[in-house]
Amino acid sequence: MPSYAEIMDLAGFKSRNAAFKLVKKMVSQNIISQDKTGRIIPGRSFHGIPILGIVEAGFPSPAEEELIDTISIDEFLINNKEATYMLKVTGDSMIEAGIMPDDIVLVERGKDAKNGDVVIAQIDNQWTMKYFRKKGNKIFLEPANKKYKPIYPNEDLNIAAVVIAVIRKY
């Protein structure tokens, strides 16, 4: 912005006071304004666009509250943490249920087996994984593989756990 001397020069004023009066007029119209030392600086309407405030670019960072409603993969797969175990599948008796050898299954102990659940039962000192079937009072274990026959337990059937998820890592 011009100094008072430059204004005198530009406008052909003889006196500094005239320049001073012009500046005062323009300040009152908000065209220009003055800093602390009295020097001229552009006024609010100088550019013709009023500045309303400052807006930062970019998206706001995700707020903590927005993430409260998400769960981890652990929470997604596991319901009762203290009762959940895993087991590596060795046989193919549940292959038609999509459970392949070398899959990891998550199982829950102490859960009541319902008709149609895949369960881990203990038969002759061995684990076995089958569908739990209940027809009336009869309980039996059904494989998901035509190669094997259903198992009708003679004595009490020991259901160790119920399968709650299958994990396969590629």
Binding site: T90, V107, N125
Partner: protein, 438 residues
């Protein structure tokens, strides 16, 4: 007199003590049906029985029995290396399940805890007996093996209850029935009464818990020290011992002992074993922000003789570099090349809260500052990649070989069954069922 109750109150406080039945052996049996109903003994890597199943107990196997003796009394015994990772996972679950019922739980040992359920009858809508039974039932079902529980007006009595019927027992001892349970209980079976006190009490004609409980207060105060006065009060139904429900950070000492096979008389190897123990003890000290002002190192010979020595430090520390260097001359005073050694141990003493050291005139503080930075990073690396990824040069020979060569070097089953993405150093923190799945 003999039939008179010791107190008229049943449960001014309701304390439950819960104890896992043959905990380590049960962890093994519950995950592998092939082991069920068989005599199972853990502790193979140490060469002694750490835990034995009830089938093995029935054959006469006792805790601490050497493998050679186990094979004599129980030729069919299945000896397993300890899988502390799995036992610890199940132990944490054990505490968590008890905490579903009450927040006041003291983790007393890997296989036992105390729970204070006072005042919970109304919110849980159950009697104290029913609460204890519900906890036991949940543990049995979700962990897959049995627990024994005792209910009493205090810890001493609750502990008598959990021992009363084992395995899978539950015994409730209300205050007014205490006398019935301790009438024939040898005094050395009372929690906290050791062989010395037992010998003294026996000389005074006190042989049972009830005989001790019936002594008058004046006699107890005159003849016994404070801890036994407290036990006497609890036997009489008072509540004295509070539960330590906070996680322990104020250890008095930290001890690390490791056996190795075969035994060795090679100085650098035995020294290296000790160095590794010191590193382990320091890891624990740093985790709890503690520093030691001294250490006891000890060496155990093949024929179970111990040789130890204590070393004091000029300042409290938890950096193994400093400790190993300071204790080396002491090691050489204890070590004798004509013996074969089977284990080494280190006990950090006089633990205090670790504070950043004040700067001093001789610049030692600067060195310590560097050490702090170094170990911050060592701990970070080891957290990410597993313990002992970075270790001291002095521990080299202990890390070069597995701890046990030969049969005792068997690795726990879980570590042989790694899943895709697991390493020998880091595994999924979920207990695994073992054995074939037909």
């Amino acid at each position: 007199m003999q039939n008179q109750p010791l107190t008229l109150y049943s449960f001014p406080r309701a304390i439950i003590h819960i104890d896992g039945d043959a905990f380590f052996a049960s962890c093994e049996q519950s995950r592998n049906p092939k082991l069920q109903g068989k005599p199972v003994v853990t502790g193979k890597e140490r060469g002694i029985a750490a835990s034995m199943s009830y089938e093995a107990k029935a054959m006469g196997v006792t805790r601490g029995m050497r493998i050679s003796d186990i094979k004599k009394v129980c030729p069919d015994a299945i000896l397993l290396p300890s899988d502390y990772e799995t036992y610890s996972l199940l132990s944490k679950r054990f505490y968590s399940i008890v905490r579903r019922f009450t927040p006041d739980v003291e983790e007393y040992g890997i296989d036992e805890c105390f729970a204070d359920v006072t005042g919970l009858r109304r919110p849980l809508r159950m009697s104290y007996e029913k609460i204890a039974q519900a906890i036991k039932k949940t543990l049995d079902e979700e962990l897959g093996f049995t627990f024994s529980a005792g209910l009493g007006p205090n810890k001493v009595i609750a502990k008598i209850g959990s021992k009363w019927k084992k395995p899978s027992g539950f015994t409730s001892i209300p205050g007014r029935s205490i006398h019935l349970y301790i009438e024939n209980l040898p005094v050395e079976k009372v929690w906290g009464i050791g062989p010395q006190t037992t010998a003294f009490l026996n000389k005074q004609g006190i042989r049972t818990g009830l005989e001790l409980a019936r002594k008058n207060e004046e006699w107890i105060r005159k003849n016994l020290t404070k801890p036994f006065y407290e036990i006497w009060q609890e036997l009489n139904g008072k509540f004295v011992y509070d539960l330590q429900t906070q996680e322990k950070h104020d250890y008095q000492t930290i001890q690390k002992v490791k056996t190795f096979t075969p035994s060795s008389n090679e100085r650098r190897f035995v020294f290296s074993q000790l160095s590794k123990n010191i590193e382990n003890a320091c890891i624990k000290a740093r985790r709890h922000k503690l520093a030691a002002k001294g250490i006891i190192i000890f060496l155990r010979t093949q024929d179970f003789r111990d040789f130890g020595i204590e070393v004091r430090f000029s300042h409290a520390t938890h950096f193994p570099n400093e400790i190993v260097k300071t204790m080396e001359p002491a090691f050489d005073r204890v070590f004798n090349g004509s013996f074969l050694y089977r284990s080494t141990g280190a006990v950090l003493l006089k633990l205090e809260e670790y504070k950043t050291i004040q700067p001093d005139l001789f610049g030692a503080a600067l060195k310590i500052e560097d050490m702090e930075k170094l170990y911050e990073n060592v701990d970070m690396v080891n957290r990410k990649f597993g313990k002992h990824t970075v270790f001291l040069g002095s521990s080299f020979w202990a890390n070069k070989f597995s701890q046990h060569l030969g049969e005792r070097g068997d690795i726990p089953k879980r570590k042989q069954n790694l899943l895709k993405g697991e390493t020998t150093r880091k595994r999924l923190g979920i207990p695994m069922f073992m054995g074939e799945v037909a």
